[in-house]
């Protein structure tokens, strides 16, 4: 622990706060991410099947969803945070803390993730969908057994990208009172002029993002061509 004292004295001084921030970030990430994952998946699937030429074409649903996504994607997250405060308060009873951060996190993450899922599912060859229809598969069958099944590697990739960008969003949420690593860096690092605290936050985020990217890439590669994996672990 001696090196910690030498290199990051202030981090040690605010150790409890630091741990608290890490947990807050983790909570925001898991709750916000979990909800966004479910909603984004659902919306992404709806976009793909409802679009013109999709297996359940529905112009109204497609346009409404597109409009919603484009609207929220065009607002910078930091503005969205402030903009949503009244709504968050109404929904959650508070606009600060982890509880207050989940709502804007979802609004920031869902449109992004939905587009990513849409793109991932769009890479599935329409011929496979047609073959499934010809074999008597219905909408649910085609979504589960063709779209989601065939797009697994791409879905893993987009989940990785979204998770990394969500980490970024949680730190921004910290700027408006959500807590977490972001607010720890601002309040204890920047405002109190403890550069070592900022450095630790950067290193920590770097590690988190690297681990996620590596895990995501590995998993995606392994699911891409199961044959290569099976043949001797060469994951390309």
């Amino acid at each position: 622990m001696e090196w910690l004292e030498t290199w990051f004295p202030n981090v040690l001084a605010y150790w409890d706060k630091f741990m608290e921030s890490c947990i807050a970030t983790l909570q925001m990430f898991l709750i916000g991410g979990g909800i966004s994952l479910l909603i984004g998946f659902f919306f992404g699937v709806v976009l793909v099947i409802a679009r013109p030429g999709g297996i359940r074409e529905n112009r109204t649903a497609y346009r409404a969803l597109n409009f919603f996504i484009n609207t929220f994607r065009s607002v910078p997250f930091i503005i969205l945070l402030i903009f949503l405060i009244p709504f968050t308060r109404l929904l959650m009873g508070t606009a600060i803390g982890v509880k207050g951060a989940v709502v804007p996190l979802c609004f920031g993450c869902v449109p992004f993730f939905t587009r990513q899922v849409e793109t991932a599912l769009s890479t599935v060859d329409p011929g496979k969908v047609e073959a499934a229809r010809a074999m008597g598969s219905g909408t649910a069958g085609i979504v589960l057994r063709v779209y989601l099944h065939e797009a697994v590697p791409n879905l893993i990739r987009v989940i990785t990208i979204t998770a990394i960008s969500l980490i970024g969003l949680t730190t921004m949420a910290g700027a408006v009172g959500a807590g977490g690593i972001g607010s720890f860096a601002i309040n204890y690092g920047q405002n109190l002029h403890h550069q070592d605290i900022v450095n630790v936050c950067v290193i920590l985020l770097l590690i988190i993002v690297s681990v996620m990217q590596t895990a995501g890439s590995t998993l995606a590669a392994r699911t891409t061509n199961r044959a290569l994996f099976r043949k001797g672990g060469n994951t390309k």
Binding site: D125, A132, R133, M135, V146, R226
Partner: protein, 362 residues
């Protein structure tokens, strides 16, 4: 039996209406291999996709034995069950039931890349209430049928094009369909692989009695396995009938082009252009097509002798269609014009089809 009556399907693009299928009626008998040929854009793919309603026709009806009649009016589909007179709107259930009785194979195979060969073949059987052990047994049987038993655990990426199409065929046959639709299934394959896929289809047709409707732009495919055929152009059927008869005596222009292209005699044009054939005055360039009755007869020398005309053979070709020979000759006939006329008449009386391609002018 598949009976299509007055089927119409129009697509609307931004600028215009495309009448992909424009009033097609045809009847396909149980157990036959029926070929639909046409150039791309002729509407053949739309037609075949209407048979299992991947495409909903605008107007017309299709009756399929065992599945009843589907009638389209104004782009809406209605179903009348076999033996019933009550017509109900055709919903997902009717269509899915119908599709389970019709297998389909495609130009690009459309296998699931992340599933093994066995999993692909099992696809239509899963979630149908069939027991796991029964599915496995059926998959083994199907893979044996297409001669791919050793590839059960391989992934599509590890297979050649021909093997992929075999997997697709096994998958299409999994549910014991009585009809197999083939949408340009050999168009992405090498000629020798095409040959093996076609003989597999023929074998399955004979062994299982499955009716095959295949569309293709290659006359060779039709020539090698079809019993009957239709030629499509601009959404309509311009010629229909027994393959041998269509080949022996094509009527429509596009049929002639198709037959010519697969017959080798279409080289005339090129030979002419490059100056290999010149037609002297009082010489005629004639194409003869002769069927099973005339093949082998020494007609040319006979005619030459009787009418005192010179007949030199430029091209000759004999095809075997449905186990019967069909011959074609390209000859230059010269001599007294009246004698040549008589010679042509003599040939026609002996069931030889005579076409004068070029008439040398003095």
């Amino acid at each position: 039996m598949i009976e299509i009556r007055d089927l119409k399907k129009t697509f609307q693009t931004e600028k215009q209406f495309v009448h992909a299928v424009n009033g097609v009626s045809l009847k396909i008998n149980d157990g036959e291999i029926y070929g639909v040929v046409g150039y791309s854009g002729a509407g053949k793919s739309t037609l075949v996709r209407c048979i299992n309603f991947l495409e909903t026709p605008d107007e017309g009806s299709i009756t399929i034995s065992g599945a009843g009649t589907f009638t389209a009016r104004n782009g809406r589909l209605y179903h009348t069950a076999e033996g019933s007179t009550k017509e109900v709107p055709a919903g997902d259930r009717q269509l899915r039931d119908l599709r389970r009785g019709i297998g389909m194979i495609f130009q690009h195979f459309n296998l699931l890349d992340r599933s093994t060969v066995a999993e692909n073949v099992a696809y239509p059987l899963q979630y149908t209430g069939m027991r796991r052990a029964d599915i496995d047994a059926r998959v083994r049987e199907l893979l044996q049928l297409v001669d791919l038993s050793d590839k059960a655990d391989a992934y599509p990426a590890e297979l050649s094009g021909g093997q992929k199409q075999r997997v697709a065929i096994a998958r299409a046959l999994a549910g014991n369909p009585r009809i197999l639709l083939s949408d340009e299934a050999t168009s992405a394959l090498d000629p020798d692989v095409t040959e093996s896929i076609l003989s597999l289809l023929k074998e399955l047709n004979t062994r299982l009695g499955v009716t095959i409707v295949l569309i293709t732009h290659e006359m060779g495919v039709v020539k090698s396995i079809c019993d009957r055929m239709a030629v499509m152009e601009n959404g309509r059927i311009v010629e229909e009938g027994n393959v041998y008869e269509v080949f022996a005596d094509p009527q429509a222009n596009s049929t002639r082009r198709f037959v010519g292209a697969s017959f080798g005699l279409s080289n005339v044009g090129r030979l002419q252009e490059s100056g290999f054939i010149t037609v002297a005055p009082d010489t005629r360039l004639i194409r003869l097509t002769y069927g099973r009755e005339s093949v082998g007869e020494a007609l040319i020398s006979e005619v030459s002798r009787i009418f005192n005309v010179n007949m030199s053979i430029i091209l000759a070709n004999v095809e075997i269609l449905q186990d019967m020979p069909l011959g074609g000759l390209l000859i230059q006939a010269s001599g007294d014009p009246l004698a040549v006329d008589q010679a042509i008449r003599y040939l026609e009386e002996r069931n030889v089809k005579v076409e004068v391609i070029l008439n040398g002018v003095a």
